[in-house]
């Protein structure tokens, strides 16, 4: 089990006058499965972008296992041990499924033998039920298969903390089950997972801890059952169709 100590201190992300993330602080110190919810536009993706290094926060600091990672480019953050998927999948379209897997594999372990990395890739693709598509260009994959590929690529990085931004969105229910078992499996491997989803059923079933964002601010953080009955959370979701 890898060491985990992620710490966000008062993260602020402003776009012009729009405060998309508003003084968010929390920490992750064990391989928990954490659900992150909040209405549309609450700032979940923006916070993910800040944590993964795609955005430099206007204010605040982030430490991962003692290393400061805020404002560092994504390829450094990934090496520090934090990886993420994209809400809108970003397959490397004109590269094959295997090449999509090799890119992170070789980027992180340049000295490893390519055959070993390929073997690992096959294991992961098999787990995700897309091993038969190894030589397919990733742009030819179906929507759900692309989501699966993105989850697979992420594992090649072997990060200690992974953020999944809407992994179930638009995916066939049967493939969602595959993603479920993936999440269980990865969690059992001792990784911390932050699961962002509008699928409340999945979030409540999977999460050991729940973080709620609203208008960029963290309004609740704790046991799912306690958070569910928190008046501030009920207030935030009032009028939502959930």
């Amino acid at each position: 089990m890898s060491e985990i100590n992620l710490e966000l201190n008062s993260i602020v992300m402003r776009f012009g006058g729009n405060q998309a993330v508003d003084h968010v602080s929390f920490s992750v110190v064990e391989p928990q499965l954490i659900g992150m919810i909040g209405p549309n536009g609450a700032g979940k993706t923006t916070l993910t972008n800040v944590m993964s290094g795609m955005l430099k926060p206007t204010n605040g600091t982030i430490y991962l296992n003692g290393r400061r990672i805020d404002g560092h480019p994504p390829y450094d953050v990934v090496r520090a041990g934090l990886g993420r998927t994209f809400q809108i999948t970003r397959a490397l379209g004109r590269m094959t499924v295997m090449e999509n897997m090799l890119v992170p594999g070789l980027a992180i372990r340049p000295r490893a033998r390519q055959a070993d990395i390929e073997a690992r890739a096959h294991e992961i693709l098999d787990l995700l039920t897309i091993d038969h598509l190894t030589n397919e260009l990733s742009r030819a994959l179906s929507g759900g298969q692309r989501k699966l590929l993105e989850l697979g690529r992420l594992l090649m990085l072997d990060p200690a903390v992974i953020i999944l931004d809407e992994p179930f969105a638009g995916v066939h229910p049967r493939l969602q089950e595959t993603i479920y078992s993936y999440i269980h499996r990865v969690h059992e491997d001792g990784k911390a997972i932050i699961l962002i989803s509008h699928n409340m059923g999945a979030v409540f079933e999977l999460s050991q801890r729940l973080i709620v964002l609203n208008n960029g601010a963290l309004i609740a953080d704790g046991e799912p059952q306690a958070v569910k009955s928190d008046p501030a959370v009920i207030e935030a979701y009032l009028g939502e169709d959930e």
């Binding site: 490397l92 004109r94 590269m95 397919e136 929507g143």
Partner: protein
């Protein structure tokens, strides 16, 4: 069609496509090695080939930069020019602490190559945050700036008359000289292609393609996009800087002129690569060579009339000097290529020999929708 299929089957059952491809490639190399010994060929024909090799280097290295790494740069000719001009200046006026006498032709070319690489480093760094159209605009501006400086600083550069480099070879006999020049340029092309392929087939090549597909995604997957973007600019700039230094050291041409650095010339490099296949290094090289050859061969089109027919003026042949129309025709070919064969005219041939089209056919058969995939999983669960 039936015959072609039969041939395909025979090849697959026998020697195999890949090996046949390599065999053909070896034959082509042998032909080029033999060519200067063909006594029926003039020195002029050798000159055309030498320039073909030079442009093959230009287009194939641009293919790595633009086709594989996705950096659609218009600065490629300028980097070539930097290599040539710096080599010329180093040999004539000396360089930093070196006196002109102490700089040999080879030394001058070496300095030119290094400077091209250094400028590539700076430009690569400046381009880090620029994408697509902005990158193209920036490199056009850089290229024009360089050309205009070369044109206006005539005290140093000779202005529009150009700059002579110190000749690389001292061979009195013209025929021998041409022969050696030919082999030198051909060897340079082979070395450059090997270097380009080595990079393209290494993990670096994989990272460059990932950056081309989606720079942010590549970065999130651990690819140091800053390092590789700069690296590809330095590498390709040094290749064309070297090629420029050698070509203009009286190998293919005895002086570098600013006209060579015009956007039109750069566009031709791009056109050769596009026609041959931007994402294939050998395709781009072949495209450039063939295009140069055809442009040369069509300076004057002579069609001997059959059946004893004569033209109005009594001549027995139709003679047409297309002049600049060749380029217009050529532009048309490029437009049609882009419209109907995005991967270049040579792409089908290259994929066939590599056997990639077999893999593609197999995988297309495996394509499925989310529903099909789910149904297959359901069936497997029982």
């Amino acid at each position: 069609m039936g015959l072609l299929l039969r041939i395909e089957e025979a090849v697959d059952a026998g020697i195999g496509r890949r090996r046949l491809g390599y065999a053909l490639l070896a034959l082509i190399v042998v032909y080029f090695l033999w060519f200067p010994n063909d006594t029926t060929q003039s020195n002029y024909a050798k000159t055309v080939f030498i320039s073909g090799f030079f442009y093959a280097i230009m287009s194939s290295s641009w293919a790595l930069l633009a086709g594989i790494a996705g950096q659609f740069s218009f600065g490629h000719m300028a980097f070539m020019g930097i290599g040539a001009y710096v080599a010329g200046l180093a040999a004539r006026d000396g360089f930093a602490f070196l006196t002109p006498e102490s700089v040999s032709s080879v030394g001058a070319i070496f300095i030119g190559t290094l400077v091209a690489g250094l400028v590539g480093l700076v430009i690569g760094w400046l381009l880090l945050r620029l994408r697509s159209a902005y990158l193209a605009l920036f490199t056009i501006a850089f290229s024009e700036l360089f050309r205009i400086v070369m044109l206006t600083e005539y005290d140093y550069t000779g202005g529009s008359n150009g700059l002579s480099l110190r000749p690389l070879l001292q061979i009195a006999d013209v025929d021998t000289a041409r022969q050696v020049e030919y082999y030198l340029m051909f060897a340079l092309l082979i070395v450059c292609l090997l270097a380009l392929y080595w990079v393209a087939n290494s993990p670096v090549g994989l990272f460059l393609r990932a950056m081309r597909e989606d720079e942010d995604a590549a970065s999130a997957l651990g690819v140091n996009v800053v390092r590789y973007k700069i690296l590809v600019f330095v590498f390709t700039s040094m290749i064309v800087g070297l090629a420029g230094g050698i070509f203009y050291s009286d190998i293919g041409s005895e002086r570098i002129i600013p006209e060579q650095l015009e956007i039109l010339q750069m566009s031709l490099i791009i056109a050769y690569a596009v026609i041959g296949g931007m994402e294939s290094l050998i395709g781009a090289a072949a495209g450039a060579f063939i295009a140069r050859y055809l442009l040369e061969a069509t300076r004057e089109v002579v069609i001997t009339l059959p059946f004893g027919l004569t033209m109005a003026d009594g001549a027995d042949a139709f003679v047409w000097e297309p002049g600049a129309w060749r380029y217009a025709l050529f532009g048309l070919v490029m437009v049609l290529t882009l419209r109907f064969m995005r991967n270049g005219l040579l792409y089908p041939i290259i994929t066939w020999f590599s056997g990639r089209d077999i893999v593609m056919k197999e995988t297309v058969a495996k394509r499925e929708s989310d529903e099909d995939h789910a149904a297959r999983l359901e069936a497997g669960d029982e």
